[in-house]
Symmetry: C2
Subunit: 137 residues, 2 copies
């Protein structure tokens, strides 16, 4: 149990892609929770300055995921909504799975936030299977 082959071929998604997913997911959550999402809300949630949020939102708008106008609220495009939905599903599977194996909710939420970007479809399927959802071995 320690043969390390060479499966390092771009194991992780690009960091920028992970950021996009995190922000899109956060925007969806905040919209649901408070009706609308502002730069300030994202800055608080991501624990970064509003400057960082603004710059990242520009890139996401450029990529067609986010829609917004200066000094206005932050919204998701259809494409952004789609990504948010997918991210949310992944997130929930990972959280539920971690809790199932005995991790506290707080830690599960915490760890899932980082792990969800690295769980492949195969791993997510295994988690769902373990949870008794859907597919079987």
């Amino acid at each position: 149990m320690s043969n390390r082959p060479n499966p390092f071929v771009k194991t992780r998604r690009d960091h920028a892609d992970e950021t996009a997913e995190d922000y899109v997911e956060a925007i969806a959550d905040i919209e649901i929770a408070s009706g609308s999402c502002r730069v300030k809300d994202l800055a608080e949630r991501m624990q970064v300055s509003h400057v960082t949020v603004t710059r990242i939102l520009s890139r996401l708008a450029e990529a067609g995921l986010v829609a917004r106008q200066p000094y206005g609220p932050v919204g998701l495009t259809p494409q952004g909504l789609e990504m948010a939905a997918a991210s949310r599903v992944r997130h929930e599977v990972v959280v539920a799975f971690l809790e199932r194996i005995g991790v506290s909710n707080a830690t599960a939420e915490h760890d899932a936030e980082g792990m969800e970007h690295h769980a492949s479809e195969e791993t997510l399927a295994a988690m769902r299977r373990y949870l008794g959802l859907i597919e079987d071995a």
Copy 2:
């Protein structure tokens, strides 16, 4: 199962820290496998150019994790060895765990590479428990 609190307080280790662990782990592996580790070996393993490797190694040397001299092999300092050992343990726990829930070895290695940096002690403990190693609920 969708209450999203606000556990986003620096969920993930800094990316630079993850890089350090990945490299240190890789160096240890390569040394074991081929006797010595060269910049070229790391470039192949990490799938990046030798330039990127060189720059990262400079930073790691600066941080006291890596020891090396120009055009020479790459070695680990005692501190680097310590980090490598810890990383390896985490890696192996995650891989073994994923395989246990039905993920193929290839995918387990692949996903673990990214996930291991985001699994907290609590989650790792839960995985070990599930594997039947050590601690109990």
